[in-house]
Amino acid sequence: MLENAFKYQEQMWQSIGETFVMVGISVGAAVLLGLPLGTLLYFCRKGQLYENKKLSLVLNTLVNIVRSFPFLLLVVAMIPVTRLIVGTAIGTIAATVPLSIVAIAYYSRLVEQALLEIPRGTTEAALSMGASRLGLIFKFLYVEARSGLVLGLTTSTISFISFSTVMGVVGGGGVGDFAIRYGYQRYETEVMAYAIVVMIVLVQIVQFSGSTIARLLDKK
């Protein structure tokens, strides 16, 4: 029975690779674009340093729209955009486009929340010593929020792993797609169970690493 589960081992390795590519790129997008977007969301909020009602409304609406899409529909709806960006709407790389869009919107919210935890006085102290905008962000805000930022990224990564499982619809592959095609559709329950175990292990590793790093970074 056990050997049954492992009989598509080669395809399994390939699927794990695809999951890593999809999740890896979307985590990259979350950090590179979600972090600045979340910081902007924070600054533009009512009562914050660069309060800006219009910009705040636009950004919030955009982020909420992306997050309210049923993910599968977003993937389909984004096909023209994907084609524009990577030249094709099919395959693992193409699948990273909608995933990254969700990643950016998702993580930006968590960044905003992590920054809101910082006491007001920290910003005040920074400004009183003549910090520039970048000085304030990098020497004060990100330093004080760093454990929250890491925990947020951990939660996000786990969501991206979950989102990546439906990427079969655009030929994205990944462990989730493997579980459906080799396990579910071929009635090979052992294969499906094996794929789910792989997912569970992945999520556990991500959560454990994230929590550990966040704890080590927290000196409060």
Partner: protein, 253 residues
């Protein structure tokens, strides 16, 4: 060295406009320790924040060392702020970095090279008596020690002026004495002018050379110790004004 002239600040609140500071004119002499005392809500913390323009005044001017602060462009204002130290009731240290890094941050912001920074950080920590805590984190320190780190941080860029916002209000009496001692030492030894906001009469009597009483956004009186208008003594009761004046009259009688 510092003069505020007819400076006002109001805030929009739910049911209208709240006039936090109402046309205040104030002169702070070089080398003095100028107290601003008043009940909570009197506008004294706002007044302090108008000095380094953490709050923008609605009208009036702030002149520091002959320079009009309110018209400075952003970049010059930041450079001016680097020469004004500020400490707070809640210390406002960066909790995730060590004591020495906390003191180093203002130097980094001012673009001081690394070797000079290391020396200056040591010097400042020695000055406040915390040289042995350099590697610790704020959470490992007592309240008084944290405030001393904040003082070291405020001194890092050799400020001519130190703004103190209720620096002892969350400290116990013994620690208050310790912090007041450090502030006095800074004033006498380094010649730093100090503006201190407080609601504790005792702080004024023990530390200040001048005191202004604030009520409802206005400065209602200013006294100078040199002129014998107020004397160091334990305070009793009554309004801040009565405490200062009443005590003075008793001593004259």
């Amino acid at each position: 060295m510092l003069s505020l002239s007819r400076i006002s600040k109001s805030f929009e609140v739910k049911d209208g406009v709240y006039q936090a500071v109402d046309s205040v004119t104030l002169e702070v002499e070089k080398g003095s320790i100028h107290g601003i005392i008043g009940a909570s809500g009197a506008g004294k913390s706002t007044l302090l924040r108008l000095i380094n323009l953490l709050e923008r005044p609605d009208e009036g001017s702030v002149i520091l060392n002959g320079r009009e602060m309110t018209v400075l462009p952003e970049k010059l204002l930041r450079q001016e702020r680097q020469k004004i130290g500020m400490i707070f009731q809640q210390f406002n240290l960066v909790a995730n970095v060590s004591v020495s890094r906390n003191v180093s941050i203002p130097l980094e912001l001012a673009g001081v090279p690394k070797r000079e920074r290391t020396e200056r950080v040591e010097e400042c920590l020695r000055f406040v008596g915390l040289a042995d805590k350099a590697g610790q984190y704020p959470a490992q320190l007592s309240g008084g020690q944290r405030q001393r780190v904040a003082i070291a941080r405020a001194l890092a860029n050799h400020p001519g002026l130190l703004l103190c916002d209720e620096p002892t209000s969350s400290l116990d009496p013994a620690t208050t004495t310790e912090i007041l001692g450090v502030l006095k030492h800074i004033n006498e030894k380094l010649g730093v002018t100090i503006v201190i906001v407080t609601h504790e009469m005792d702080v004024v009597k023990r530390l200040c050379s001048h005191v202004s009483v604030m009520e409802d956004g206005r400065i209602v009186d200013t006294f100078s110790r040199a002129d014998g208008e107020f004397l160091p003594a334990a305070s009793s009761s009554g309004s801040y004004r009565e405490q200062i004046l009443g005590k003075a009259r008793e001593d004259y009688a």
